[in-house]
């Protein structure tokens, strides 16, 4: 953790190169799953930051949907550039998180989780009602341009994939760096002992607020990417509460050990869902729920813990002399 160019850095860099190369070889449907994994993985990354602080949000579809709608609406006023759209979606959610953070930072544990859910439901209700925003039918999102160039057909997704992968790479590194920064280390401090944090001279609420804004930014980013990838935004598949459940699902599936894990977990999630859907069209939810239960029961630290079982683990007490 002491150096910037650590294992995670190299892992992410190699990962980026691999998926950029793979991008040109993949079948289209896999590329699309990859895109979705990056989008949902980004949200899960935001949840990971909160999770490390001992907080879970059951309502991050709020920021996901908010970012997605921000992209769709920014297109309506003529902003078609992908980067600009993604920035707008990300910032929009960040601002929303900043505003709500003043209220949410006062809550912990299950109350924090549920207040988030409540806020996401309010957004859902508003979106489903607003006919100007297409109500439940949602609004279409056009293929974006990239610095003035608008790729067509299959190239559209190849470009979006490259583009997203590079941003995700930067974002993941940024989060990794954040987690190893002093501010990031406060995630642990908040989870373990808020009193001590106060008496070290930092406000636990402020630390939580910062994390909340980060997680909002990440969810907004994920939503923005999803909007561009799918070409459509609607309340049911972006904001409705089971979406929030999916994000937490991915976080659990991934484990919170490493920033890279969330993207691997998101990919696993998408693949499981795709195949469950293909092979058991009437009971795919049963398979999803079952998978989640198995993970919760038997792999509590997620898929990432499999890698840690292989490696060594520190922090065992040499001799508890009590």
């Amino acid at each position: 953790m002491t150096r910037f160019m650590d294992k995670t850095f190299w892992g992410l860099t190699i990962g980026l190169v691999v998926i950029l190369v793979a991008n040109f070889l993949l079948e289209d449907w896999l590329r699309f799953i990859g895109l979705q994994s990056m989008a949902r993985g980004a949200v899960a990354l935001g949840l990971l930051i909160l999770w490390r602080a001992g907080l879970v949000s059951f309502g991050h579809a709020l920021f996901f949907g908010w970012g997605a709608y921000a992209v769709a609406l920014s297109q309506k006023i003529g902003i078609t550039d992908a980067l600009l759209g993604i920035i707008i979606g990300t910032i929009a959610s960040g601002l929303l998180a900043f505003a709500l953070g003043f209220l949410l930072r006062r809550y912990r544990a299950i109350f924090f989780a549920l207040l988030n859910l409540a806020f996401s439901m309010i957004l859902y209700g508003v979106l489903a009602k607003l006919e100007v925003l297409g109500s439940t039918d949602g609004i279409g999102v056009k293929q974006p341009s990239y610095f003035g160039i608008t790729p067509e057909g299959a190239n559209a997704h190849i470009t979006l994939f490259c583009f997203t992968a590079i941003i995700v790479y930067i974002v993941a590194l940024a989060v990794h760096r954040y987690l190893s920064s002093t501010l990031g280390a406060m995630t642990i401090a908040v989870r373990e002992n808020e009193i001590r944090l106060e008496y070290l001279g930092y406000s636990a609420e402020k630390a939580i607020h910062v994390k909340y804004v980060f997680s909002g930014l990440l969810a907004g980013f994920g939503g923005a990417v999803m909007a561009l990838a799918v070409g459509h935004v609607d309340p049911d598949s972006m904001v409705y509460w089971p979406n929030s459940g999916d994000f937490v699902f991915i976080t659990i599936l991934s484990g919170t050990g490493n920033v890279a894990a969330t993207f691997i977990g998101a990919l696993a999630f998408e693949l499981i869902r795709t195949f469950a859907f293909d092979y058991a069209p009437q009971i795919w939810q049963l398979l999803m729920g079952g998978t989640l239960l198995v993970i919760v029961m038997f792999l509590p630290n997620g898929l990432w813990s499999l890698t840690e079982h292989l490696g060594k683990r520190r922090k065992s007490a040499p001799s508890p002399a009590e």
């Binding site: 002491t2 760096r177 954040y178 501010l183 280390a185 002992n193 001279g201 922090k315 002399a321």
Partner: protein, 262 residues
């Protein structure tokens, strides 16, 4: 000698119960003050009020000539008034080293610097020095939850003093420590604090420790300070004898140990 802390007419009541009243204390730089008193005498309430955990019902608190009344603990901490806890407040799942590093990182960073890596080599070196000073370096890589009680107490105090505070308040540094270990522990603490030139105030039940380490005693009884004097004089005070020392003897015969929350 510079005035570090001035407390005037401090009062605190919970509902109808008065937990502190007429508290007037001044502390000068370099003093070592021991607070004694039976359970519920208002010792911890006093520390909680001064460090911002509880808001007094009335009174004034000045630290380094500046009113800190109503400030949040973190503000008071950043001004240089720090504290440790009766039940050590540490980050249980993290190692000693990580605990100290986090504490140092927070003490040393403000604004954008908070985003710099926590585990910077220079800071790690300072942390090693700090751990060595409190003689907890041997437990460097042990999770705080797995530490022996004494070491955890030291860690708690070490974390409280990473800022090199002007004044540190230790809430029962020796509680939960066996009699044989108490003096060793206090030696470490006092040596370290002297090295850091920190004025210290601690709450203590053990009169031997009070006699040995402090320059001045504040005796609490039912929310009031009944005696403020050097230890030799204070321990001979009849009221102290009756309401504090007597109780302490009574207490130690039962061997009961105070547990509770900060």
């Amino acid at each position: 000698m510079a005035r570090v802390l001035e407390v005037h007419d401090l009062e605190k009541s919970f509902g109808g119960v008065v937990a502190a009243r007429d508290i007037n204390v001044t502390i000068d730089e370099g003093e070592t003050i021991g607070i004694i008193g039976a359970n519920g005498a208002g010792k911890t309430t006093f520390v909680n009020m001064v460090t911002g955990y509880l808001r007094p019902s009335a009174g004034r608190i000045e630290f380094m000539g500046r009113s800190i009344l109503g400030m949040a603990p973190r503000r008071i901490t950043t001004l240089g008034l720090c504290r440790s806890f009766q039940v050590p407040q540490v980050f249980g799942s993290e190692t000693v080293f990580e605990n100290v590093m986090i504490a140092m990182g927070i003490a040393e960073s403000r604004g954008p610097a908070l985003l710099a890596p926590l585990f910077a080599p220079a800071r790690a070196a300072r942390a090693e020095t700090h751990m060595a000073r409190y003689q907890i370096a041997d437990y460097r890589d042990v999770a705080a939850d797995a530490l022996p009680q004494g070491v955890r107490k030291l860690l708690d105090i070490a974390m409280a003093t990473v800022r090199k505070p002007k004044l540190v308040m230790l809430d029962e540094p020796t509680s939960g420590i066996s009699v044989e270990e108490k003096f060793g522990l206090m030696d470490i603490i006092m040596a370290a604090l002297r090295e850091e030139e920190t004025t210290v105030l601690f709450i203590e039940h053990d009169m031997e420790i009070v006699e040995r380490y402090v320059s001045r005693v504040l005796a609490f009884y039912q929310g009031e300070i009944i005696c403020d004097a050097p230890p030799a004089e204070a321990l001979e005070d009849p009221r102290v004898k009756e309401f504090v020392v007597g109780q302490e003897l009574h207490r130690s015969t039962h061997g009961a140990e105070e547990t509770g929350n900060a």
